[in-house]
Symmetry: C2
Subunit: 515 residues, 2 copies
Amino acid sequence: MASMGLAPAEAQTAVTRASFTPPRPGHLIDRVSGHHKVLVLGAGPAGLVTAYELLKGGYDVQILEARSRPGGRVWTARNGVGETDLNGETQLCEFSEGHFYNVGATRIPQHHISLDYCRELGVELLAFGNQNANTVVHYSGDTPLNNTSITYRQAKADTFGYVSELLAKAVGRGALDDELSQADKDALSEFLSDFGDLSSDGRYAGSSRAGYSGPPPGAGTAYGDQLEANALSDVIRSGIGRNFSFDFGYDQAMMMYSPVGGMDTIYYRMAEAIGAHRITYGAEVTGFSTGDNGVNPWVTYTSQGFEQKAEADYVVCALPPHLVLKLKHDLPQDLVTALGAAVPASAGKLGIEYSRRWWEEDQWIYGGASNTDMDISQIMFPYDHYQSDRGVVVGYYNTGEKHQKFEGLPHAQRLAMALDQGAKIHGDVYRDDITSSFSGSLMKTKYSEGAWVDWKGAHSHSHNDTPEYRRALEPVGRMYFAGDHLSNAIAWMHGALESGRNAVTAIHERVAVGG
Amino acid sequence: MASMGLAPAEAQTAVTRASFTPPRPGHLIDRVSGHHKVLVLGAGPAGLVTAYELLKGGYDVQILEARSRPGGRVWTARNGVGETDLNGETQLCEFSEGHFYNVGATRIPQHHISLDYCRELGVELLAFGNQNANTVVHYSGDTPLNNTSITYRQAKADTFGYVSELLAKAVGRGALDDELSQADKDALSEFLSDFGDLSSDGRYAGSSRAGYSGPPPGAGTAYGDQLEANALSDVIRSGIGRNFSFDFGYDQAMMMYSPVGGMDTIYYRMAEAIGAHRITYGAEVTGFSTGDNGVNPWVTYTSQGFEQKAEADYVVCALPPHLVLKLKHDLPQDLVTALGAAVPASAGKLGIEYSRRWWEEDQWIYGGASNTDMDISQIMFPYDHYQSDRGVVVGYYNTGEKHQKFEGLPHAQRLAMALDQGAKIHGDVYRDDITSSFSGSLMKTKYSEGAWVDWKGAHSHSHNDTPEYRRALEPVGRMYFAGDHLSNAIAWMHGALESGRNAVTAIHERVAVGG
């Protein structure tokens, strides 16, 4: 590939993981000869990165974007943002200057190339709280620890304590002698004693890790009243540990990051680097022909009320697959069938601006999320403007059926539901000092009509190996496709950005051998 | 107490923890009548907060501070900082503008009143990475996973996987039937399956949580090569899980915070609020009399080469207890004996400025720390200036015997040892692109001579209930004592700040009833 002009980043020998090749910003080492025009459909992350990287190689690039802004589903709600959803309701975001939440992508793991583009584009980063000992779990059920709020701190202390006690006991009883040597058992007991904070008799009898019922240990004789251990059966049966694994996930483990000022900052910067004259906003694609056999592909679109047509040597279609199918097109039937297997998913958020950061002042919560099995699923606390006089809390970020209960509603009803459930978790303070709110449901957002797609029959978002997926990866004529749906990092910018890079590589390799 | 003038913060009913009363900045609601002069010894956190809160109440306050700066052990190494240590070596910190590390306190948990003072003083906060899936553990030993670097990500995936598998197996064998009902067993199995990422047959067969040997899942057919599970016995016997509990600790659990620009920013701001005319820097206390029976306490000190004497209605001594004993004093013998039980501890750090953030670019590490049983104990990565062209890595933060191996050495030898051990953990890159370095050993730092104290016979730093500790809490005559050593949050600013507040309360209550 290096000989074709696209140089992969030089292998970095991270000594701790010799085979790791950290993603580096893609760069074209040779410029193409001759004039090659590429039309990019969509100014989301995939479309923008395609244009951005092609420009480095000397291509003539134009982007058509239906919206009046870059970023696509990477959409940040801040003051002045307005949107009429597909329910017909218009909302105007009235958050205070500088305050925002990300309706779409909101966090970046350390291994995603999204961070490389932040570096390249000078986008400043903030740590994103994807875990917090002081946020709470609140699950319904019929055990003593259900239908109440318990800090992660306490839930983890008790769960890890009892898990450790039980395993230590089983080991001591010889129940695992066929699995473990004496040396294994000794080492395991040592680990469990520390992991569970077991007392010298091997029992979990509570831990300072759980926290204190009053003020924490302080000066003088303020020793703090350590919370007592909840009963083993209550801890286990309440299911308070059901979400602990969330941030063990490869893409969710701390540390996580997010741009200062909102996630879309990356794409505003990328659009700026591409140049305003190369992006036509308000251009709604209506159809296309994929071209070839010497015929160039072309695209029809409406702009300023007129039907227009654009032609290019290549087209990169970075539109959601389910929306492509709604256009006039000449795609082969097998691809149409394949794209039909990409099923759009529901997800959305609602942001509430408060004029007092009660979560910090009253509940010692600085960032992170509380989790529940109520429909709101989670409440996310802001990761910026700490200790200022206001802040935006995400009152729900939910997906699938839980989000579907919200997306058909007018905003006022969404807010009412969010407040009812949020107040059950964080108290009546949840209803106080609200200055404004704004919600976005991506299934009900024009030009998105979905938060992401799920490929029917795929193993997971990180392993899309179905025949339909593989078919959708292939170009047709002189049209290439890009988007997070063509990746194993669906719903992550990383997937969209890598997919755009792949389209760049494919076009550049084709041009290099004579187009 | 409210009637005495010191109003405790109004109880905040955090619904999730009804009995929690979050600490709020202390404030005096009534001003004292008459003129009351208080002399404060030491401008560390305890001394400064004493003066700061007394001033709110209308007291006449003067601070004597031996150093030329506020903050005491809260000491930030940045450009221009110079120090001659007790070994006689002078170092000048030459880090680039804006870059620093905190030789002393470096992180604040969400429940500490240190954050309240940040709010009150307008000190901006950054999230502090106290956990990172991409940092590594590197422990010596004789198993396959020793003497090599393993990401926390992988160490946790394997450890939690096998712990879950083993416990699920023991439960399945009925080994814990006397402890668990069938409902318990069902709930526990469900938890373990998720917690350990077990396969459907209940075994741990590796997990994407561990990460990938090459690039992570990306676009197209880049599915990633998931790391294979290490063998159960290797995982357990290597002890790679020995540090997992670190951030379960009440004071160490995420989220954690630190001020923009360095921890001492809090105390520079506090000193500014107190007023430069109320702080005499370069004033080294040489002795004192505790006063009473109508006689005021007085203090002798040297300033600008002259022996001087100051008298006041009250003195608050916020000096380290082991240094108090070196002064000329009239403390009663039982207090002298008590203070002798406060044993100073060794700790220190060494900061290395690199002109390339190799940890981010090559190893995807943004903040957090790697841990080892080598003498350096840990390597801490910067939590600010992400993706800039340089940054300061803390090459060791160690305590006790491990730090004693460094504190007696000249800086060049400290650095050489740090680089040797660091390179074993993070590779040869650890030796490249170094622009400058600076180390601080608090036992070898004049006016500190210790990182903190341990009370002989105390249960822990958070439960100092020995007779000596309790004796040291009491005032003598008109002299009060403050410092983190008089708290159950030793080595934390929280303890020092609360201790200072306690001195304020005690003096104010005494003045209120006629002194």
